[in-house]
Symmetry: C2
Subunit: 479 residues, 2 copies
């Protein structure tokens, strides 16, 4: 399913690493990630659990620390308290998880740094961030995770606090660019009403699932639906998911991960992909629907299929199918414009409407779109594609408040350079530039996009709606 | 005031342009820009006027066309109607400006393309954009301007319209990356209540003032103060502006442009810069205030100075002063953290508060901050600087609704690579990368930042508040 990054392999070989070092070449590390396996591999979840150490800090009252203690206990992750946050030890112990005092001279290699910045109320208070990370960063293990938790600037108690909370974004994005050896950093803006809904997000970021996500600012809002009892093994058991464009590439990976998590996956693709589509659906014990999503009858066809496969309604809808028809606008044909817009964003809007009107998308459903860095930053030769992917972002932004009233979430991922057959066909120099121009110095894998979608589609992710999460290794490109 | 970009000069020489062409090297063009001159050069404004041709198009009802006709008349800019928008001819004639029908085969070289996309109500309707730009782009003159006008997605009448309006952003950012020979493209989201407040924004973008701004999405909101009668010659006559860090570089350019526009400029800088500060203030017939803005007594010192120079209050406050102390966080000292945060964002917040409390910043005042691409995208070695500049963005976002109640606007510019003494000291390879990694293939000049600030500080810019405008030639870097 994935193409090979020969330079990554070379730079991590005995000879190659010495050569790369001597020449000052980039030395991307192989990321720890969950293998993209179907529901037959029972060990994959065990390998994905975060069993290593976290160091915890926080500013002021640090009101999220009790929530963090509860979640680290659920995840089975031991922790150490930074010297300025020794009250963490008793919080952790109360939650039933092991803790002690962090001492940098003891040679511990934490796998995570967690800092509750939500009580920071002025830019002066930001110095607590400096102290914590200055003390802890040098010890980090490879492929470690840095999470800074704040409060959404719009919900801060004063303008001064809002300014300081907004500052966290510049800090975390810079920190993510300083991290080495596969480590990543994110900012989680946690609304007060979202404190009970942290589980799925920490399960994602404190595991290899989030290997290729870095430098992101994510907001957890007042949940549009309440989390069910925690069930980390097969959290989607009994649920039905639709994935468009599921015959290969990223779509196949999405279907695989959702099936692994327990869902019955309805795999949708065009007639020309019938062979691989049937193979995927059969391997995943899901079902296949051959259907051109841009056709006027697509909604009815999907509804007819779901009437049999999902009589109780649909839980997850992933709009993955998409095409590119790259040309500069001057050379682009009207058909190239029209087909990209219609397949990438016309069809998803029509499918949403058909499923909403039929009551198939109902309370607790999750919709996930696939945007793109092009839709954020724009791209030469992609006026059509970038417009369609910006429209996917618009779909998330415009529909999230509307769907929240029906207790439905809508989010999107925005992939960067992902190693697929499509990128394997890109000329060498452009492919290499795309691969290296991000903080992790390598392309992502389809499974990285799939895991991010599985997180947004998790039944406990009701605090996530209206979000666009980049899966790009913190690409340099942006707006 | 500016450093030299020798490659730009070389690539535009007779030999160099042939060589660059043969080797496939970038060929940035010298941008048409206003010279950075003080109030003694009466011809500068005349040179900056947009006397060349615009081609106009629009989708559906195109409700902004009458407003565009009025403004093109005010700016003295003749126009042609696209074949699908021939109703423009009578609108333009009614407004008193010349117009005719655009015919690409006649060899006209329009200097501007203006498209009213505000009536686009679905992603299907976006094909009108394709038609207009497909027909017109190839004719564009050098250093031309593309403006797409939309309605803010949050104000669109339906979710479908909101999605389509959001798509414009991906389109315009891509188009800006396809334009050649110094041309730029922007998206203006015009709220219905802002239609009477388009003047200052079109005056900026349809002139050499906006030379280095491209790929931006700017929202014109319901104005926080009404525009005064139009006065394009010395629009700041009788007004008082404070510019911090005014002794050199970008600050000196800001002071110069504001003085050229008619303001009395209070030039503020530290004691170590006394000599150049006095020279600037004297040249601009403004006044000099030596003051460390981070000192506790800075607010009182500024108020005392203004009591003499601006007994009726302050009109414009530009927070330009800032420092960098670049180190990775592990190697950064606490003093390096603290000084950057305090000077770049602590001091501006304290000065705002002091001037607001004293009633010196009053109705119709404009505050402009200086953020940075680092504050948007983050930057390795700049956790302190990026946090401070993200905080400047936070200051704009948090304070704009609060200050709107007092009829005060607050905005920021975010410069990219600007040619100054500071960037001249950057090592060659990094400097060259910074210069070329944007759609215009070159660094900006201090005057480009200054002109953007003068636009935000224009007395008719009441529809602009809460905006962060990048002055970066559409740098590839972003979030």
């Amino acid at each position: 399913m994935t193409t090979s990054d020969r330079y990554l392999a070379f730079a991590n070989s005995a000879v190659g690493s010495r050569l790369a070092n001597a020449l000052g070449l980039p030395r991307p590390v192989p990321l720890e990630r969950m293998p993209c396996v179907d529901n037959t591999d029972a060990m994959a979840d065990a390998r994905a659990m975060p069993v290593s150490l976290a160091v915890v800090g926080g500013a002021g009252d640090a009101p999220l620390l009790p929530d963090l203690a509860r979640e680290l206990h659920r995840l089975g992750m031991p922790s150490l308290a930074h010297a300025e946050r020794l009250d963490w030890i008793s919080l952790a112990n109360q939650a039933g998880t092991m803790s002690g005092r962090f001492n940098p001279s003891e040679g511990v290699r934490p796998k995570a740094l967690l800092f509750d910045a939500s009580a920071i109320a002025s830019t002066d208070d930001l110095s607590t961030l400096y102290t914590f990370f200055h003390d802890t960063l040098a010890c980090l293990d490879r492929c470690a995770r840095v999470l800074v938790l704040g409060v959404p600037p719009t919900l801060a108690s004063t303008p001064q606090a809002s300014v300081a909370q907004r500052a966290l974004e510049g800090f975390v994005r810079s920190l993510a660019k300083e991290l080495k050896r596969g480590a990543t950093a994110q900012l989680l803006y946690v609304s007060p009403q979202a404190r009970a809904s942290l589980h799925s997000t920490l399960r994602f970021f404190l595991s290899p699932r989030a290997a290729y996500v870095s430098g992101q600012a994510i907001t957890l809002q007042a949940p549009v639906f309440e989390p069910p009892p925690i069930q980390d093994r097969r959290p989607l058991a009994g649920q039905v998911a639709v994935v468009t464009g599921a015959a290969r590439g990223i779509g196949e990976a999405i279907a695989t991960v959702l099936a692994h998590d327990g869902a019955h996956v309805v795999c949708v693709d065009i007639a020309a992909a019938q062979g691989p589509l049937d193979a995927v659906a059969s391997r995943l014990e899901g079902s296949a629907l051959t259907c051109d999503i841009a056709a006027p009858e697509a909604g009815a066809a999907l509804l007819a299929h779901l009437a049999k496969q999902a009589p109780h309604g649909l839980d997850i809808l992933v709009h993955n199918a998409g095409i590119t028809r790259d040309k500069t606008l001057v050379r682009m044909s009207e058909a190239q414009w029209q087909s990209v817009l219609d397949i990438n964003v016309g069809a998803p809007q029509r499918l949403n409407q058909a499923l909403l009107d039929a009551g198939v998308l109902r309370a607790n459903s999750r919709i996930v779109g696939v945007a793109s860095i092009s839709g954020i930053a724009g791209n030469r030769g992609q006026t059509n594609y970038a417009a369609s992917k910006a429209a996917v972002i618009g779909m998330v932004e415009a529909w999230s408040p509307v769907l929240a009233e029906r207790q439905i979430s809508i989010n999107a991922v925005a992939p960067g350079f992902i190693e697929t057959q499509m990128t394997a066909a890109v000329p060498f120099a452009i492919r290499e530039a795309g691969r290296r121009m991000n903080s992790l110095g390598q392309g992502g894998q389809p499974v990285d996009v799939a895991q991010a979608i599985a997180w947004l589609a998790h039944p406990a992710s009701g605090a996530l709606t209206g979000q666009v999460v980049r899966v790009c290794g913190q690409s340099l490109l942006g707006a």
